[in-house]
Symmetry: C2
Subunit: 322 residues, 2 copies
Amino acid sequence: METLEKPYVAGIDIGGQTTKMGIVDTRGQVLSQTVIRTDNYDDVNLYIDEVAGALAKIIGESETEGKIRGIGVGAPNGNYYTGTIENAVNLSWGGTRTIKFAELLSLKMGGLKVALTNDANAAAVGEMTYGAARGMKNFIMITLGTGVGSGIVINGEVVYGHDGFAGELGHTCAVRHNGRLCNCGKTGCLETYCSATGVSRTAREWLDMTDEPSVLRSLDIISSKDVYEAAKEGDRLALKIFDFTGKILGQSFADFVAFSAPEAIVLFGGLARAKEYLYQPVMDAMNASLLPLWRGKIKIVFSQLKESDAAILGASALAWEL
Amino acid sequence: METLEKPYVAGIDIGGQTTKMGIVDTRGQVLSQTVIRTDNYDDVNLYIDEVAGALAKIIGESETEGKIRGIGVGAPNGNYYTGTIENAVNLSWGGTRTIKFAELLSLKMGGLKVALTNDANAAAVGEMTYGAARGMKNFIMITLGTGVGSGIVINGEVVYGHDGFAGELGHTCAVRHNGRLCNCGKTGCLETYCSATGVSRTAREWLDMTDEPSVLRSLDIISSKDVYEAAKEGDRLALKIFDFTGKILGQSFADFVAFSAPEAIVLFGGLARAKEYLYQPVMDAMNASLLPLWRGKIKIVFSQLKESDAAILGASALAWEL
């Protein structure tokens, strides 16, 4: 009944630099959308004022006033249980405190309900609602971006854990001895190898340690996109970097499968665009590290969501459950 | 209503050597129990005949005829979804086939309902119903026996995964390079270090590699119990073996926490008896490997169930859900 009367939701994806938001219908069509800067503000209240203004604008554009069921937010360090953003040191207005984000935004939006979770969990909900995981009850979403995020779905529900912070698979240990130093303060975390940043680090290390010729050698700063472009040109070092990255990912995936026996692992994010170079090494390493009962049975799939809409869709999908 | 009319359940714990079974009331009291050999039979039908006979005997002893709500079974490689035991190569009547165990036993028991899962999941249900995890909705049960088993509980439900085989944490990778060969065919599995067998292997390796004096040096075959007894006498090598074992366990636990953010990890099984030597190294290593947000917040608790009853209670607890 309520879905019929209020057949639209808003989705907000908060990144370190930009915040994307959109109005979405029940079929997953983004009717209107906009982007604002996240990092223009030190004070969360000023930031929320601008979010509210931008939302009002796209609600107007899509002529959905009074028909919005709720707002879904995907944010770094977002806690589903409490609606807070905690210790989000990568957000200019975040810092080491706890921000009652859902409550603050709801107040500004005239009492509209707000659901909030971390960005990877939001992506998992989006993938389950509109994307590659439709119909799946058990899967693990891995986001390969600046870092490595994860959203775990078991029996059709996102796993939030005891405290709301479950699913930090980017900070499981991929390399135990002499592992790379992570932003979190630990060493050997998966994301130090298998994020976009990790790929750049691998490239830099290997160029410094070997004499192997590579088009990458001429670059001062190497991005994962540079490595991808080089691989497309057949650069052998670039191809080896993806083999290595895929191997580390696949080994870790085998341990994740031993935990929750998912039907599939779904890959999403900038680095996942290199699927033609990642798929086979990931599959090979995962199968070699799996218990025999799972070998050849776990799917690796890549997100099917339109990149520009995916973040908004993921966040908005949360709001259907309000 | 049905609980009032049928206020008893039967629990069966199938181990490689022995099968323990008992009749249990709603308060977790074992009214009568018995043990039979598991390994006297090549044919599962003959084994089930003896199980049924033994069950009938203890039902008679406890005067619970007609009042049994159902039967819960914990078995190696037991699948909750299908009620089957698959590829249980450690059972004399198991082999590499799929046995419809729940169906066969139900037929022999006049149609009584049978629920079946693997032994570690059964232990988790028992701990949640009667033991150290009462009131917990999110915890991980780790059984430290001949191998390392695990039962994962999220939102009060055991995680079975897509195929019924979730929770094989004993076969996650603890040592990536030059890890010990595991029975499963892989190398570096947690259970090659942190099971009773793993502790024996550590003792043998360290005695062979060093000249360190130890009371263990006089033994031909070293069991984990021998190492425990030596530690109690203050044997330095034995103490170091537990430090090492606890460190590997704690490092792995940190990765498990990153997955499901449990309130506690519950330890059970023969090796868990060495809690005075394991607790601190496990805690220290886990906290050192955890993301800051979880440091000092995750409990390590030891099973409180009476050892002789625990396996039966765990299996029987499954039957309440029938």
